[in-house]
Symmetry: C2
């Protein structure tokens, strides 16, 4: 029935995911789970489309395949992208869209009731962009029992990647290699940021005949602040020209069928200042120490402590986490929002877990980013892409 299969995995992969979710539900005593996170929806069903600006979700009921719920017109997109045969799609009428009189979650409550799924213990993702306070109130009002918070229940299961998922992430790694190579080739004093971003997008998208694939949109747009503005981690771009005597970091990701490989590098135009050379030395040494600790059985905090210890030696303070899990994502975040690489996070590393080892420094007057995306292995990490791990200096 479905016509576009490029985004899908094998049925058995989806069936495995579903049974893992059901096991986790059972362990928490959840009869019906409602997931609003587009990444979780895609992971469970293959559903892909830019429809997350209206209320939608996937429902895992007490039995059977996942049920897709969304705007009526988007059921057409679901039909074309989900793995299930004769999929169970609930579309709400268009007058529920962005109305101040009715709410899609009222409609969902009624549909759950029709199916007799309203009486059990129902789990919702309370801290998710796509499940608003009002959505929660509207759904609650239509159901007899209190809702249970299952934020990140699925996200945690997404942590260790299957071989097919790792394959996608390595392809995303290829793409980000090409993006950084393009930047290195094109960047020069006088070039406008918006033109450089055009180059970055071009390198992220084009079909490569040798690879046999092209790119998808990343969950975060390119971030490339220069000079003192690079003290701010999340500025995007403007029309200004690149200037000699300034460092710029490029925080970008390759994306292949919604799977990400983020990777940052820093470029200095002209002769780097001592501050940049010191930052490079500390980050590269710290990264080696962190990668050494990135193996199965260790903890998330082990990577962070190894990295921070080196920074400390160099009297550099970084008061933010140094990484997060990555994989399948939709805007606004390419992270999975479960564990973090920071002291105190005692999550045990398992083979196939994937992280953006975010060793960025945002300091007074400058920013510096050289990062890696890695997959945890039994004895050490695999870097998901291969970009020269150094500051690029262009005179």
């Amino acid at each position: 029935m479905a016509e576009i299969d490029t985004f899908r995995f094998s049925d058995s992969e989806y069936e495995t995911r579903l049974s893992r979710v059901r096991a986790a539900m059972e362990a928490r005593g959840i009869d019906t789970l409602i997931t609003s996170d587009p990444s979780n929806m895609a992971w469970l069903t293959g559903y892909d489309g830019w429809s997350f600006y209206v209320h939608q979700c996937v429902i895992i009921g007490p039995s059977g395949d996942p049920v897709w719920f969304g705007r009526e017109q988007d059921a057409q997109g679901a039909l074309r992208t989900v793995w299930m045969n004769e999929p169970d799609l609930i579309g709400y009428p268009d007058y529920f869209v962005q109305s101040d009189e009715r709410h899609p979650m009222e409609y969902l409550a009624a549909k759950l009731t029709e199916r007799g799924w309203h009486t059990g213990r129902i789990g919702v993702e309370m801290d998710n962009y796509w499940f608003s306070a009002k959505g929660y109130q509207s759904l609650s009002a239509g159901l007899p029992n209190e809702l249970f918070d299952v934020t990140n229940l699925i996200n945690w299961l997404r942590g260790p990647k299957s071989p097919a998922e790792l394959d996608r992430m390595r392809k995303a790694g290829k793409i980000v290699e090409r993006m950084h190579a393009r930047i290195a080739e094109k960047v020069e004093p006088g070039m406008r940021k918006c033109d450089l971003v055009a180059e970055i997008y071009d390198a992220s998208l084009r079909y490569d005949a040798d690879w046999g694939f092209g790119g998808d949109y990343p969950a975060i747009v390119p971030l490339l602040p220069s000079g003192a503005d690079a003290a701010a981690p999340h500025l995007t771009w403007d029309d200004k020209r690149m200037v000699t005597g300034e460092g710029t970091f490029f925080e970008i990701a390759g994306c292949f069928r919604r799977y990400h490989c983020p990777l940052s590098r820093t470029i200095f135009l002209g002769k780097p200042t001592q501050q940049f050379l010191d930052a490079e030395k500390a980050v590269l040494e710290g990264m080696e120490a962190g990668l050494e600790a990135a193996k199965a059985g260790n903890l998330c905090e082990d990577i962070a402590i190894a990295f921070f210890s080196v920074l400390e030696k160099y009297n550099i303070v970084k008061d933010n986490r140094t990484g997060y899990p990555i994989g399948l994502s939709y805007p606004p975040d390419w992270g999975e929002r479960t564990c973090s690489l920071r002291p105190g996070d005692r999550t045990v590393l398992k083979p196939g877990m994937t992280f953006h080892f975010m060793t960025g420094l945002w300091m007074e007057g400058m920013g510096f980013e050289i990062t890696e995306s890695i997959a945890i292995g039994e004895t050490g990490p695999e870097c998901l892409s291969n970009v020269p791990r150094k500051m690029l200096v262009k005179d």
Copy 2:
């Protein structure tokens, strides 16, 4: 203090906006307003950055300038983008980020309490992507009184655009003209979708010396489904080739400094089928009727009814709204989420209101989009861009 000023309007424009918000708050009896919508945050303060994947907001207290609240590291971005002198920035420590032990909204509650802003009537945007159910619970738990729902209070004020805002939207209109011209130039049978998207991004971003500006990222990525898949309105792209005998719609927007001009066109490769010719005739005639009704004093539903009446004449059923307000936006939506162009919406049209007149048809076996973005005037609408209003046929 701030170094990047490209995204900012004049101080007096921001002061006007603030006083309009305070008047609306007073009318609703709100002492303190908390806005989590990145578009509202930018409209009030100029704040710009891709940080909306963590909890953040702007607070309008009983007096004084807006207060920015966000992750500590993002205060650096705020410092560089907001209009306020010596801005009042509250940054929460990084261990609040994506933690299952503590929530940024607990921190906010404590800060409001310190300022004595906790006892009044506090308004929050209950139905916003960026104010989660958990965020609501955490904030509520830290404050003595019930929170009030002010969803879209600011969005409604954003409806009629200032001359400076209209200027930005016309610039976005220039960009979308260039994007459609590029598609028309490049599209041909055999071209891969991902390569066509690379062309679209290039045209949306490059600096134009005649114009004196380049482009920003749109709040929605290009949508370009072909053939029967175009029955689904929100599919993005894949690596497949464009094929003779298929129609493809291109739903894209130009974006200039976060202001959008969406515009869709349909291209048929080869000889269009009768269904496409019929759709074109109905949509163009319906659009004329709708534009006729798009003037100050009329209602939103007048545009919709005028359009739908023509469709009815041609026995075409469109069971979704036919437009929405546009302007300043961040992902996931370039709409303002207030009124809609649909029967029953009796919002009065005012000069300077801007809409995407979304006359798209998603039907069995095909999709067809020819749309316009318009500004309401006293006697009729202004089209914000000038792209030939017809189906493009390329043999």
